[in-house]
Amino acid sequence: MDQFLQLVLAGLATGSIYALAAIGFTLVWQTSQTINFAQGEFVMLPAILVLAAVKFLHLPLPAAVLLATGAFLLLFGFGFKRFLVDPMLRHGVLPLAIATMALSILMKEGAKDGFSAEAQQFPSLVPDGAVTLLGATLSLRDIAIFGVAVVAIVALQLFVTRTRTGRMMQATAQNPSVATILGIPTERMILLTFLINAGLAVLASFLISPVYLAKFSNGEVIGTAAFIAAIVGGFNQVRGALVGGFVVGLVDNLAAAYVSSAYRAAVPLVLLVLVILFKPEGLLGRKEERTV
């Protein structure tokens, strides 16, 4: 039982990282039909940038964090939208999706060649300790990850429902053409979603890297998980991405313990298959109308 609780918490912790990535992924898809295959690398890179700033620019950690965050938001929030998405969107969803595939390779190889192929330590604000609850030993770091992610998601939710800008952004995400008619500055709102996506990626990066170390290949697992989470949750729903992220995280962690290692990697994929076969619109998605 105690092991189960531990696994659940670990699952919620990784699940919250997947959720952050999946939410950003879904937001970007909703507002601008962009399938970002580089989302995993988006989560990998900010930590690498911080370490690079410390190593090459000899900056103290807080300054490095600020610089890396700013640079990332500029390059992969604004720059991504302006120089990759905008020019390519006219030509359909697929070429842009392929371009993000290429971008993911670029980011991964860039991190490997430009910084290091080795896994690196990433400093954590939370000490490496544990707390005992109901007889289970729960890692402080996992609790911290879960907690911070939840706060961020709640903050995002409040922003979207309580502020004017947030509501405009949500309207743009749900129906861009109607939003334009209503006078919402959709271009700015779309840019905002890209910036939020970049911000969520930065947060996820800083949360996960202390635990799993910063490595150029981190993006692969996270990217796949985020993609699966978004689909499982229902491709068109942010709420779904949230649920999907936690489901994938939990399933993955529980599988690691209770399923033999040969099949372990298959479990999230099997989950994906089951959801697609029995509820293709996702756990939280709405069935789309079929035309004659």
Partner: protein, 340 residues
């Protein structure tokens, strides 16, 4: 602007000329070089299948590498250890079975295509590809699992076992030519037009009597069949297969191949396969950065020409046409002025 269909005859000429040239190209090449161009031909066939499904009919399939795998493993099973029908007839049987199996799989997979929309289809093919990969990897008794399937024999043609790489390449070239000619014929027939109608305007197509269900299933099944054929050629080419080349990432690479080559253009798959499978090998000379350079090239290409490599040719043609039209307009203006 000319339509894609009238250009297909130029494609036929390119195809035949290309085959003639390629017959002689590998003479004197080292075995690595022959391997690379053999690999290019095999993947072109797989890409051709996906181009039909995706580029012409507009159906989002992420399972092409799985069909490749089905063909490869079926061929391995039929031809290994002397072969089910002996050394001469086993491979032809395997070729036919690979195509038939994947065709049937395509029909089965095509059914959800009729009920679901847009990206949901991509998910269904993704699920299928995942399941197939898991079977390849975990069913060790059948496929050898992660340990692979060794000793896949080369086919025997006119009493000669094609162990010589150059001989096998030429055999491969002929099979590719036949399959390409069949695809060429298919695409320029009324069926090809109907496939494009699926992509261009399914609503109008239906109201004009185009049977959406039949053509969708056909587009899926034939595309899958070509994946199977490619697999039947891949297995004896490498003589040892494991699940890795048939993973989901391989399906994405095939997707990239079709898009980069130019989706919906006949020669697109050949160019795309050269870009995806030959170029990285060529780039290896730049040392450890080759993947970086490759990704940068893909990105740059797509930004310049989202219609892919053939798209660049199209853009040049279009520019020339506009220049001619403008020149004619200017000339007639001059004449009008002079006439006053």
């Amino acid at each position: 602007m000319t339509s894609p269909l009238s250009r297909l005859d130029l494609n036929l000429v390119t195809l035949i000329l290309g085959a003639a040239i390629l017959w002689f190209v590998p003479v004197g090449m080292k075995s690595y070089g022959i391997y690379v161009i053999s690999f290019w031909l095999v993947m072109s066939i797989a890409a051709m299948g996906l181009n039909l499904t995706l580029g012409y009919a507009g159906l989002k399939s992420l399972a092409q590498a799985a069909f490749l795998g089905i063909g490869a493993y079926a061929t391995a099973l039929i031809t290994a250890k002397g072969g089910v029908l002996g050394p001469v007839w086993s491979w032809p049987l395997a070729f036919v079975v690979s195509g038939a199996l994947t065709f049937a799989a395509g029909v089965v997979l095509g059914f959800p295509a009729l009920r679901v929309k847009f990206h949901y289809l991509a998910f269904v093919t993704l699920a299928f590809a995942t399941v197939m990969f898991l079977i390849f990897r975990n069913e060790q008794w059948l496929t050898g699992g992660v340990y692979g399937f060794p000793n896949i024999p080369r086919p025997t043609l006119f009493g000669v076992k094609l162990n010589n790489d150059l001989a096998f390449f030429r055999f491969l070239l002929m099979v590719t030519l036949v399959l390409s000619l069949a695809m060429w014929w298919l695409l320029r027939s009324p069926w090809g037009r109907a496939f494009m109608a699926l992509r261009e305007n399914p609503l109008r197509a239906a109201s004009l009597g185009v049977n959406l269900r039949t053509y969708t299933l056909l587009a899926f099944a034939i595309g899958a069949g070509y994946g199977g054929f490619a697999g039947a050629l891949y297995a004896p080419m490498v003589e040892f297969i494991d699940p890795a080349p048939f993973a989901i990432s391989a399906s994405f690479v095939l997707l990239l191949t079709v898009v980069v080559g130019g989706q919906g253009y006949f020669l697109g798959p050949f160019l795309g396969a050269a870009f995806s499978y030959v170029l990285p090998e060529v780039l290896r000379v730049t040392g450890g950065y080759y993947l970086l350079v490759y990704a940068a090239l893909v990105l740059a290409l797509l930004l310049v020409s989202p219609q892919g490599l053939i798209g660049i040719v199209e853009q040049i043609r279009e520019l020339r046409r506009q220049k001619t039209a403008q020149a004619m307009r200017d000339a007639s203006k001059v004449m009008l002025e002079a006439g006053r």
